[in-house]
Symmetry: D2
Subunit: 369 residues, 4 copies
């Protein structure tokens, strides 16, 4: 099921970075969701490279064609198929490395697995694939917002060792770094320029949250909501770590500090990150994701070729010095896809469970930070 | 699929903490694996409570009965069913809290989801469930070791803010903390005694590694090996974070530092943690897992009852002051189950791909640390 | 997924005919269904051998123990696990044939697949496994009846070349043949006695119907309701054919005859068998199932042994001369399991689709025949 | 999973009859299979309408574009995506019936399920969808033939009440009816002309067989090979019945007649149809499928409209008077997809089971009839 995400809201993606097209099929989509091709523009633009000089110079126009599943402006319950033609795929940039295993890439592992590899632009392992995750999530976000009032937002929470000095959600969409402190943007630009000049790259941390998720979504054992989120985030290229709520900080916490007291007026804190026992509490869902620095550098590195000989690998193609920057919309997309799937799974099993216990307000954990 | 783990080597667990029994069914198990009831003893003892005074005082005898799938000492390809009767379930300890939502537990979320809850000992949400993960993994570990020479090991890597001062795999099995520095054991005992006296608890970090995994296991997009490991670990009770390889440290790394150089003699490092593009590299698989401190404390906390009234919650049952301690065998089990499943999935799709590219030795990344 | 049936209401069975026990785990069960161990008695008795002299003489007591998923008399949403100990398994009857491949049995194919086989009573391939299908379906039938008014009934529709001369549902449960014409029972008893005396066996046809299924269950392409029913029925031991509605008679029908006219007062006929385009019409679901005659006969037959030598195979164990007779409750069970699963899948995707078009009464197709 | 077939070789189709395109994604495809766009031509032409005056007059050019998963002429292990643009979709033919529920069609059921429907040419419920089944099966047939020598063939076995008088596989591909007796072709042409003149339609039976399937494919309980075939065939539009081997004739057979004797030189017969206990025997796989007559007729019939009013329904679009005729390649395709999936599942679980028992030749059951 490598290319499918979800059990009931099932997104199957296809296409290589430099093949004729990329696309996806969304099976199990509820009928009656209004959908037009223009609905994809905003989120795809947020993810697209070429948005600023700090991300890869490749221009992705990303015009989505709806091939299936929509009639007179609404989903029909049939599979929704989306297609984007690849228009700016300069394969010549990649010819030189077709016979090299680049360190830090999937070249070697793909070859060992399949005995064959499409080397053009990373083929199927390119971040180009994530375009369709964002496109598919447009549907999920719509349904979640309209039926349940769920709102999903993300921002960059660290680049290298730079941390935000303040938090303002409004700032996030106003700068090319999805950074929550507008005042730091010049500093980040200087940081990125220096990085690019050095030929090196750096990692990043993305925080993504969902507000408005009702209590009860998720499943208690293997299909926990947090387990699903962990898989969803770790399935994004370059991710090396996932935290829910307090995450690794829990290791040094005392139980009396970590557990979130409950009162009739709301929870007192949200170290749990909105999930207890794998099921949503009604508080904000909190997720933090670590992105490694890209391995595609102008700086040379020891590598090996197809014949097992040592080679020096230098990457000259177009690459982001910090892949984490444009990962923010991708993390949002994966949270939307996981929540959508859990919502349908919850409805399947528990669709007739009424409100049998009082709901506790999200409380302080949902403060707008 | 809440109670099933795996796509091809499918483990379905059942049973509540204080019900008549717990058990599991393992479907898709390869035939011909030697198996006897005694094979479960060692791993279940490692996980069992009652192993030292630092874990819960409940005695779990955990005698496994094989109900299905084994004939004349070997698996037949039929589902392997395992059963453990619950013998020391003192339900009276839990009666008082049947009408309370304990902060930090699944009480509230389970109630909101299902409208009903088995309150005896945490019911299905108890860590008792993990016994069957360890039992099922006995089969996976056997097959992985015999067919592929895979070896899976774990140890505690942090309790609260205490870190190991040295690393010795031999020490790990010699002390009740799975701690890799024997000299620190008296210090840890004092730490735990003070913690117990205070009525509080603390978090922990577990490190689990697999050596001998061949290159090529895992899938490149959603079913990445690391995504599967993240879900596997996050599905364990009390886990709040998962890292692969360098994990969150990648955020502050430069690409020139993070990417693992490759030479014909081996990899130069293993920041990737043995996975690139979702597929194993042949290096050690490295995973780090954060456990929160248990919320079951003698110290009172604000809670809410079934009617929405404020209550003071105090837990008096038997509970580990650090649930992370005995999580080490559980993390090993989940890594075994994920690797086993990926191995079968790899064989299904790529069973006839020969060795088409030279294999690079695991190299320095597999040093015995 | 060989031992699991269903996508959302997932039934996993385990156990061999002569092993210590058989059982099942039902995952995804809606919470709040009243359930006690006595609820299984009636349906298991209907399926049990030993009910009359016309079915196998083995006594199956089939006392069900509920191991999981029920608290204070109702399902909790946790997996429901059921266990039946095998008490009357005389393995000595089967020792002689352990090294023979019996024609018409799974001996040879199981051996070729797994390289090993539990020969005691057919092991996992015994009809004993179907006991748990009937047990699991008790839950499905309850939910379908209580939430949707669905009623599932079956009867024997042919034994050898004997057909019912009349149809009376009340008669079906009054005779050991599930036969709808009480007047034919003496004739059937004589037929079966002669058959037993001859050492031979005969095939049968079972008809199973569901009334009260609302329009809209099922899925339009691969997961059609009729495709699911076909797989469900064909998964029962000894089944060789499945028909929906007019079935094979459609081959010789004209379109003007087959298509079921629709009027505001109801459908004019039900050649479709209650399914159009894979989705229920609201009419009676009609299914017909062909059972082959058992191959376990006193009459000798050419066979082969483990070494590839010719042998004469004679079966002396306890076997039904017409396995189709007690298949009626099993067919009902499989229809219940498929409908239950489709109902949950429908709710997941379309739970918020209102009644947007007028419902057409079931009409003449639902006449009580 | 409505639009996906298979567990490991997973085919997901999309597109409506009169939408912009139809397509499919094949996930889990083994790498290294040679594939070019021309490989689809022959099988798609066999399925295409417009092949003779006896099938619908709509011209389907069916030019396949490979969008993903193939590099330098071979599959890479990435998802294979195929696309066919719809070029001859005259929606005007269907406008009149957009507000009518046509008897015998999915109009009413789709509306009850989804509350919305794409009425153009049957939308997703059109047989147009089966084009992609045939395309996907091209890959499966190639792999099955090359790796295992499996050969899959089908023919029409009955139209209305006309039966073949002789059997010649070579004749099948020489006439537009896939009919095994060349001498009857003029008779069939006259039959179809009379039928078309009358405005009516008729049902048909298709037989499809696979030779060369090794013993051991299939699974013993719910995922039986025959259960999978039954679902596969019943998922084709207009199918009302499926038989394996002797099928419904088994009902009147004696056990001494039905069971297929085994000798070291081969099986004596093949009433089982190549499957025992859900697992292949090594004999020919035999499957028979009943197709209903199409309900799209010039002859008027009682129907109902969206408002629940009685209407007279007359169909004037282009429709086959016997949809079963061009179903032959579709039945072959579904058998190929099921066998491919079972082959991969078998390899996953039992890939290291050697030949532990002697293989019995297919014997008389595989005679070329």
């Amino acid at each position: 099921m490598s290319n499918t995400f979800g059990q009931l809201f099932r997104v199957t993606t296809f296409g290589e970075s430099h093949g004729p097209a990329i696309g996806c099929v969304i099976d199990g989509c509820p009928p009656g969701i209004a959908l037009a091709e223009g609905d994809f523009t905003a989120d795809l633009a947020r993810r697209a490279t070429g948005r600023s000089r700090h991300t890869s110079a490749r221009r992705e126009e990303d015009a989505v064609e709806i091939l299936s599943g929509v009639y007179e402006g609404a989903t029909t319950g049939a599979p929704v198929a989306l297609l984007i033609r690849n228009t700016d795929a300069r394969s010549r940039d990649y010819d030189r490395i077709a016979r090299q295993f680049r360190p830090g890439h999937a070249d070697y592992t793909w070859w060992q697995k399949y005995g064959i590899r499409d080397p053009r632009g990373g083929g199927r392992s390119s971040a180009r694939e994530t375009t369709m995750r964002v496109a598919a999530a447009v549907l999920a976000k719509k349904w979640l917002a309209q039926r349940h009032g769920v709102r999903i937002r993300g921002h960059l929470a660290q680049i290298g060792d730079v941390l935000p000095r303040s938090h303002d959600w409004d700032a996030v969409e106003q700068n090319p770094f999805f950074w929550p402190d507008a005042g730091q943007v010049p500093e980040l630009e200087a940081y990125m320029d220096a990085l690019r000049k050095s030929g090196d790259s750096v990692g990043a941390r993305v925080r993504v949250v969902a507000d408005g998720v009702p209590p009860g979504w998720g499943e208690p054992v293997y299909a926990k909501l947090d387990a699903g989120l962990a898989a969803a985030m770790m399935s994004i290229n370059a991710v090396k770590g996932v935290e829910i709520g307090a995450g690794f900080a829990s290791v040094a916490q005392k139980g009396s500090e970590h557990r979130d007291a409950m009162t009739p007026d709301g929870f007192r804190s949200n170290h749990a990150g909105g999930v207890l026992g794998g099921i949503s509490t009604g508080q904000r869902i909190e997720c933090s994701v670590a992105f490694k620095p890209t391995s595609s550098l102008r700086l040379p590195v020891e590598g090996v070729d197809l014949d097992g000989n040592a080679v020096e690998v230098v990457t000259t193609g177009r690459h982001d010095p910090c892949v984490g920057i444009r990962a923010t919309p991708i993390c949002e997309a994966m949270m939307a896809l996981e929540l959508m799937d859990q919502a349908l799974r919850h409805r399947a099993q528990c669709g007739d469970v009424g409100e049998v216990a009082p709901r506790i307000p999200a409380g302080e954990g949902a403060a707008d930070g």
